[in-house]
Symmetry: D2
Subunit: 367 residues, 4 copies
């Protein structure tokens, strides 16, 4: 019963927002607003800013028109200004290059850097709380915005899963733990007894960040961005909409062993994988929680507690794509057919032809 | 967008366990094990120690045979040993009498004191994690114990609602906030613009502690102890068992505005009110969350967002009872009939007769 | 084990559609399409025809502009043409006046008559099955239309509850049983051992028709029309929308003892009570099911198995209104404030003023 | 709009009970009582009789000790005595051999015969309704028995899926339709435009009987017996129990296109596949419902609307086993390891050794 532990570091406090790149901004927008029920709060340049109805700040998602799908960056709010100062100092002390950014829409000065595998991350403290206009205001004092009557509305951003080169997962998790102060909640071991995948958090959630081995050997790719429902039925409801409107469900609804998440994975029209989280999972209040380590032989149970299997694409497909069609493991998203395929449609046709095809496809929720 | 806030105090970390007094230990035990699916881990003197299958430490509930129902104490774990030391120092500095206790089953040295209204509270750091015996072990590395196949099993302790003299709620909430470091998440105001009820937490949960005005003017009483399901269906399932086995459902399933809790309230055979929490509510990750204040005229919405009304007993009945039958507001639990009544059965019959009646009643789950 | 029973009569086969009168057609339409997710298929004169996405025929609801709320008629399909002929013959033999109608939109010749308390009913056989236009077609061969992405869409019409003069309930249930062939599934007895309320069906559903005593002593009024979700979560989801948009929830979500229905009751903007049915209840496959009779002293359990109480308005409010403000039991719907009240707003103001007020109110789902 | 249809035949009315053979009676009993919460009502010879808490008659399941798993018979109740007489006459007229049986526990004279593929079926009319003993009685007048507080209790029997030689499915479905009066609700076509699988019913349920092609070419085998929950959450709850206690989940929870069933498939300790039905599916009230025909190219959607894929075993494994290990498609249940395997454990070991192993395994719910 001797619980010797150093005092936890509470400096980084929550995942706030993520920028997703999409080659088909209008289609992605249609999906996030009509199927996931998100609300547009701002447009600027090639970017559109959206929020779930329980997100507390202005927005949790930035959609930005780009050549390739992928994550622009993910931003975390600290627990105070001094906490922000301490983390920036720690980053610099660790030799990490930090860029100060002052022109952010909806939040104050941020410090942008890359983790060891190249994912772009920001830390910040000052932020603008969302105050709904009258026609969107909720009767609930504790809810930032009325629940929309469109699609199956997600409540808030939940976590981001960062695909990481398999040789970098273990090292990178030490960076998130030691420099940023994340606690390591669970991990799946490889046969060298190092982590092939880890789940880290700064709150009772099992993870705001997961690091998962990229079987294609890429660096800095996005595996998925997750939004939260908290209710199993909403996964069934949104599955109906996805099937009927041609949004590919890659896996689920299913129940992971890791995090006990009832969830599903879909590919939004821009090609990014989105997880929808259908219950609260379990919450960790124990301040000296011992990392749950799944041995390689228990990985199957870690991945699926019950519900269907994960397909092979789950361990290979990430954004942006890796352009190597000689690699037998590779797979590509075809945003025109809305499916994952072995062949890379995008590099076999001219940009002009692609544009024409997109215009033909044109994702629309007809109602 | 200027978020000026002092650094949050993260010293108190979670609600760990609560002791309930019961005049009918065997009946209460039958209820908590057969209806709520809890597991006995220890017996000692007049006390039995029980756990929900996701509680991380040895137990979350102590049932103790006593003359009267009520809360023995509630215990909170700190985030570290230094954090514990800081809070004990703060208590002493605030002039609070603190008792050091070293003989606790399953946890280390604790510091016991009373809040301003007389509720008995403990703080501690050292604790024994639960390790299930083989026949109760789960295949899930992140679950302390296999989910039982009995009743509708609760997952873990959630929060405690402390009935407080109406003139003390506001003052007492300052004690919890300033001396212990709880954050004030929501509150219902009275017409003096002070809190009639407040909900406080040290985690993203909206509350581990609520303080609620006692309409009978009592001090230090228990309103309810809450256990967590996280799933709406389980409220319907346990309602079936309660109705069929004669456990009174005082209110619900219903949805509060405050905390957005889908929940229900029942009276366990010993007379204590138990809340069952049927979803995750909303979680607060915002480190400088502004207290949600419900004006007196919005109290109805704060109390019920949707679902049936709360009965008058909800604002008057607490444990232990107040022995004043001249008070028209008073109400009593009759554990023999298993119902809330205007008359106090217990003081009108001899202890011997009461014992005989209890033996006649004898709550049993017949299956 | 001697099951002596005459051969059941399977002639009347299902509830097909109901016409509701509404003084505020545009507001009612907004509610049924934006909150309950129904789809308009036809407009004709003062009527608009709507369908739930799993209704098999063209529509299940006709909304008709009228001075007063209430039920126009309810129509039942028979199991064949000969079955229709047999029932029409039986009606005539019973001395019931039957009107043949040939100009029905979406279905063939119907036979219209009144039950003993004056509710207008139709029987018919020929009907047009719904074939969705391409942009509304489902990928499911067994689903008439894609589930809409608006509001919380109801699946199909379920049943109609016909408020009946208390002295007529028992006699009227014999009419439905003996002349039309309905089976009596459950009933609540009054102290004369006759039914105060009965639930009748021609299918495994516990009821397509309920007859319930009208405490105001009215004749031929509508208590409610019910639509089916089949899922408990959808009641919580639609409750959110109702609360936020000012649709009064009269009661629920709750669970009845009778029919084991998890359900809720709301008042649509036109003033008619609508029930939303949140699970399958229980189904009756037993061909010689013995009527379940609830004694007067068990009526409370019959009405509420668990969940909040029913308010007094439940037993008094029906449509159309009864214009007797001297009756202390009477209550009225105020469509401008969207609430049930003791005073009849409608007769105290001029038609012109009322129209102005309606225009001010103007129910809209803002999103 | 000309709905020309002959009058439907309502003679066969409902599936009443099924006998399952099991080589491990005690283990099967433990599973059905402790995991599925069924109640034993009778024991006789090598058979034990069990009921779900909403089954209306004495029992819905007979477990009988036998060398091999499989279905003993399935029994259907008719809508009246004359209806029974008519169906028996029709069977005899069709040249079917009919055995009259008079010594049935809990029901009257039955008529036993085989369908065209050799499944043993009974028809009967007289039956004993279940009257719960006091300690098992429900407070609900419409519920035959109180819901047990054990496991995740099934409500009632739902349907039986009869594996049929692929060349016999189409012909056999005509037998069920023309001789017994079942209506053909849905079907998956093979490339000869005949049914590879059909779903038939005599009630608004989509099926009480399914006929499905046996890829191993067997005759008269059982694919699965289904019990009904009606609630999605209960599938997740029972999945937890199955995973923790080593009951193999072959597939699901998932949503079929056919019947819109949210369901899962497990293998009970005796080796029989059991389906658990987690919602109401859709109900067919339309008396001239047109059979939904899924083309071969739509079979995937017919099988899975959303949720994981069905494994190959689903189309090959049935009971009793087919003893041909040279067939590459074949698969076997190993009741000692509780899993489906390529090799037939049972024929490679002596009966004595098998018995020893069973005793070692000994399925027990430890709680």
């Amino acid at each position: 019963m001797t619980n010797v532990a150093q005092e936890p570091n509470f400096d980084v406090h929550q995942l706030s927002h993520t920028e997703l790149f999409t080659p088909v901004l209008a289609d992605s927008l249609e999906f996030f607003t009509k199927i996931l029920g998100m609300t547009v709060v701002h447009e600027e340049g090639d970017s559109i800013y959206l929020r779930g109805y329980e997100d507390v700040y202005q927005y949790s998602l930035i959609l930005t028109q780009a050549e390739e799908a992928g994550m622009g960056f993910s931003a975390f709010r600290t627990s105070s200004q001094p906490a922000l100062d301490r983390r920036v100092a720690a980053l610099k002390e660790a030799g990490v290059e930090v860029e100060e950014r002052t022109n952010n829409y909806g939040y104050g000065t941020s410090y942008r850097f890359k983790d060891l595998d190249g994912h772009v991350i920001e830390l910040f403290w000052e932020v603008e709380k969302y105050k709904a206009p009258d026609h969107l205001a909720s009767g609930l004092g504790n809810r930032a915005q009325r629940k929309p009557a469109r699609g199956v509305p997600v409540r808030r951003i939940d976590h981001v899963n960062l695909m990481t080169h398999p040789d970098m997962v273990h090292k990178n998790h030490e960076f998130w733990r030691d420099v940023l102060g994340f606690r390591v909640r669970e991990g799946v071991l490889n046969d060298k007894d190092e982590f092939f995948a880890t789940w880290l958090s700064v709150s009772p959630l099992v993870h705001e960040v997961a690091l998962m081995g990229d079987e294609l050997g890429g660096h800095g790719r996005l595996h998925h961005l997750a939004f939260w429902y908290g209710m199993p039925q909403h996964l069934n409801d949104v599955s109906e909409l996805c099937v009927e409107h041609g949004i590919p469900i890659e896996a689920g609804p299913l129940k992971h062993g890791v995090s006990q998440a009832l969830c599903m994975y879909i590919i939004e029209p821009g090609g990014n994988r989105i997880e929808l989280f259908g219950d609260s999972g379990y919450l960790i209040f124990d301040p000296d929680w011992e990392t749950v380590k799944w041995a390689p032989e228990d990985a199957a149970k870690a991945i699926i507690w019950f519900g269907g299997e994960l397909p092979e694409t789950y361990f290979r497909y990430g954004t942006p794509r890796i352009e190597d069609e000689t690699d037998e493991l590779n797979c590509y998203f075809n945003p025109i057919k809305n499916s994952l395929e072995k062949e890379d449609m995008a590099i076999h046709i001219s940009k002009e032809r692609e544009k024409q095809l997109y215009e033909t496809f044109n994702f629309k929720v007809k109602d």
